[in-house]
Symmetry: C2
Subunit: 191 residues, 2 copies
Amino acid sequence: MPKNSAEVHRSLQQAALELFRERGYDQTTAAEIAARAGVTERTFFRHFADKRDILFDREASVQAALTEAIASAPADLAPMQVLLLAFHGMEAIYEDNRSFSEPRQAIIAVTPALRERELTKIASMIAVLASALEQRGVDAKLSTLAAQVGTAAFNYALMEWLDDTSSGLGAHLDRAFNQLFLLSSTYESGV
Amino acid sequence: MPKNSAEVHRSLQQAALELFRERGYDQTTAAEIAARAGVTERTFFRHFADKRDILFDREASVQAALTEAIASAPADLAPMQVLLLAFHGMEAIYEDNRSFSEPRQAIIAVTPALRERELTKIASMIAVLASALEQRGVDAKLSTLAAQVGTAAFNYALMEWLDDTSSGLGAHLDRAFNQLFLLSSTYESGV
C-alpha cells in the first residue's frame, strides 16, 4: 500500500528508534533504517540529512514557533509569563509525538555524541528565546537569564511528563514554573 | 630574576591573553606563548596541557570546592540557599583572578571552539552541582533544575560583575539570586 510523505517520515522514525534500541545508535546505518521501513535509501535522504537528524528534526520548527509566540505575546506580560505562554503553545507538537519522545530520550542518554548534540540544541534554544525576549525590550543579560531558567523549567516539565502519563504536558509545565518559584523564593530566609 | 612556579603560571596566562587578543586564539601557538613569557616550551607544558587549558585551568578546582561546600552546608538549608552559599565561597578565587576574567571572556566570545568548550564546562558544572544536591537527599530531577537555575544565576552574576567594578562578586551574586526570585514570582499573575 503506497504511503504518503508524512507516513513515510513516521515509518522511518519508528524503524530508526527500533534499530537504535536493538543494536545501538552507532551500529545502525541509514541503509538499515530505510530497509526496516520498507523504503529505498534515496527516500531516506529525501526525509533526513543523516541518521542523527531523525532525532532532531523538529528543532527548527519548534524554535520558529517559539520565536513567533514570544513576538506576539501580549505586551504587558513579564518575561517568564511570556515563556510559559510560548511553551504552552508547543503542547500539541509534543503530545502528537509522545510515543517517540521516550525511546528518543533513552537513546540520547546512552550515546555520548547524541548527548553533545542535545546540549547544543538546548544552547541554541536558549539563544533563540533570549533573542526573542530582547526584541521585546528586555535587557540583554536578563533575557539570557530568563531564557536559561525558562528552558530549565521546560526540560524539567518534559522529564516529568515522560515519567508520568497521568498528566498532560500543559499541567507539567505549570507545575515546573511553580517549582521554579518555590525554589527561588527560599533563598532569602537562610543566607 | 628567577620566578617561582605560581609567578611563571601567571606570566604564561598573561602572555597567552595578550597574544590571543593581538593575533586571535587560533593563530597563537604554545611556543609563542612560552617565548612571550620568557620561558621554554617545556616549562609551558609543565603548567598547561595545551593553550586551551590556559583558559580553563581552574575548572577542576572550582568544581571540587563547590562539591565540598555543598556537602558541608547546614542540613536545614533549601537547595537554592545551599547553592548561593557555595557560590559565595568561590568569591576569593574569582576576585583574585579578576584581571584575567575580562580578556578571557572576550576571547571566548569571538572563538567558536572556545564557546563550545565553555558550554561543556557549564554542562559539567551543572552535573556536579546536581549530583552534590542529590547527595543531600534532594530529588534527582529537582536537583538538576536547581543546578541549572543556580548556574544561570551564577553566570549572570559573573557577567554583571565584569561590567560593574563598583561592586564585588558577592553583591552581584545576591542581586542575581534576587533577580531569579523576581523573575519566577511574576509568572502566576497573568497566565
